[in-house]
Symmetry: C2
Subunit: 370 residues, 2 copies
């Protein structure tokens, strides 16, 4: 079932902390031992797993590591955003301290974005930083969260308010994990992959439009190729702008300003991240249309592809004021001015800091109308 | 009272996160506004101050910043090691979140090593990292902790178990702060400065021996020069080996293996860090002597200079077993083997990983004998 290692290689990500391989394929978890060696990692691993990952999958990873001579300890954590807290961080620290984790050890995250973020934050800070490996099990994490080294925890006052840039030494995405992913979570993952097409790759966008059925069925090589392509786009962006200081990485935030706000005003309990981003991308598209940057046709096209993948394109019943207020407290805000990521065309995004509040409020009012 | 900026410059520290200036002089806090500008820092600062720092001193820093147009918020924290906790970290995060701290803002630490470490950890992780400035008020922090970007918090299971490498944008050491420092804390600071002489600079060591009276009186330019020289040594080391991956930075840990263990077995309540390091340096010197690396004369010379500055050179009554056990759980330990920093001569340190446990236990037994 395992593809050859090189044909599974989606990208080599270049960072200030060294290069790392992003692998995408079916059954590739079996090769984690060889990848560990290739990455020069040590002989002890601390595997932080999402409770939602089937015990057999956890065992598969653990056994593949042990076969390669890597002693592997396992900690399972509850699923869900609540796990991404300072309390969980403390729990991971205590586990590591109890087992006398050393500097040469590796922390492995097995799960979705929540597990990757909190285990990654622990890896960034335990003994001032140890090696980190991502084995994402959700589509959203495969195409987005697992790449680029952003790790974080939530505070009661906001999501991802604390964290670090801590690059993994390896990201291993086994597409077979997706077979058991709930439909809503799959859709949320597609939102981020479609986003990559919208902001940077018109061909990828077209593939999502024309091959929806076969992609959603998760069968064959086509879905693997599309995920690999999406990973390659994200890898290219984070290699070019590791710390989001330039004008490149910020483009990945397309749909995220309003998306984050929607998640926040619904207390992170109603919308999955990708679902909120989907609505946020609709907000951005409508803003761009009203600014005369794109025509109604592209807005309709974006709406159609998002709906096709089961994603929401409006947020009926939410408060315009609450969303506006949260959008302005987003951590990307500089001096109170929101930096919007907007489309100029299919596969072409730019940033704009001159969007009037009233225009935004008008767009949001339309999106929340019942 | 302010010296000219350039004559106060002790070093320019080169790091992967850019260069920064280390300033040492009398009354230099008054120039913090100009230094902020030189470092390209933003117009909002979050000043985290030790409660032990006189309110006038806090006001001096705040006013100097505000004069330069930098809006400055102040949070004061209790003195002492207990403040270096995850709970304090959470408190700083809440303060920043409440005031909507942004990415362009700067966190300034005004205090000793505890404040620098915990405020620096907050700066390393708040919004995945914001600018950080150190204004050390203790001698130990001036010559050691404030430089090199090591920031940390303690866990119940051990000191400095979590943290980051987060380089400051500026370190401003005002020697006038030392006038009000308690004698024991001054001595603890001298321990680190003398250490710099012992491991790397025979001339500095000689200055400590021949000028003890005038240095301890804190009068005149000589003490400023000695501190500046000590800062320059540390700056050189951390510039050469930022992440302690080479064989250079580890030399700064001279006396720290046993020093940390002594602090731990006394629950961080009996020995100041520098005092424990002083005893730890005696352990290292005796180990080196028994290994035939140095002669008894250098051991005596080290003992004499430490005692001259009011530092302990033994730890009567402590348990050999407890110290040995803690030394082996130090985070510098690799695969259970302790990497010792030992002298080969005055101003010349090396690492050795082949020291037999029995030899170490024998040395510690001598140091704890009543």
């Amino acid at each position: 079932m395992t593809s050859g290692a090189e044909s599974s290689l989606a990208a080599v990500v270049r960072t200030s902390q060294g290069e790392y391989r992003a692998i995408v394929g079916r059954g590739v978890t079996a090769s984690i031992g060889a990848e560990f060696e290739l990455a020069g990692l040590g002989k002890r691993a601390f595997l932080v797993a999402d409770q939602a990952v089937f015990p057999e999958a956890v065992r598969t990873v653990q056994e593949a590591l042990e076969r390669a001579g890597v002693v592997t300890h396992v900690l399972t954590l509850p699923s869900g955003e609540r796990t991404k807290s300072l309390q969980t961080l403390e729990q991971i620290y205590s586990w590591l301290a109890g087992l006398r984790g050393e500097r040469g050890d590796t922390i492995v995250a097995l799960g979705g974005g929540v597990i990757g973020d909190i285990a990654g934050f622990a890896a960034a800070t335990w003994l001032r930083g140890v090696a980190f490996v991502q084995v994402p099990t959700s589509l959203a994490s495969m195409v987005d969260a697992s790449l680029g080294g952003k790790v974080a925890a939530n505070l009661p006052m906001g999501k991802n308010l604390v964290g670090a840039f801590h690059q993994p030494k390896l990201v291993l995405s086994d597409v077979d994990f997706l077979k058991t992913l709930p439909a809503r979570e799959m859709a949320a993952g597609w939102a981020e992959a479609i986003k990559h097409g919208l902001i940077l790759d018109p061909e990828l966008l077209e593939a999502f439009e024309s091959e929806a059925d076969v992609l959603m069925a998760l069968e064959g090589e086509q879905v693997v190729e599309v995920i690999r392509r999406s990973v390659a786009i994200k890898a290219e962006i984070v290699s070019a702008d590791e710390f989001e200081r330039g004008d490149v990485r910020v483009l990945l935030n397309y749909g995220h300003t309003v998306g984050h706000a929607i998640e926040a005003v619904t207390d992170y309990g109603e919308y999955l991240h990708g679902e909120a981003v989907s609505v946020g991308m609709m907000a951005a598209a409508l803003i761009a249309e009203r600014l005369g940057m794109i025509d109604a046709e592209l807005v309709d096209r974006q709406r159609a592809v998002l709906e096709r993948y089961g994603l929401p394109v409006s947020a009926p019943g939410l408060s315009v004021e609450a969303i506006m207020d949260r959008a302005k407290s987003d951590k990307k805000v500089r001096g109170g001015v929101i930096r919007w990521v907007l489309l100029e065309g299919p596969g072409k995004a730019v940033t704009r800091s001159d969007v009037p509040d009233e225009l935004v409020a008008g767009v949001i009012a339309d999106l929340v109308a019942r």
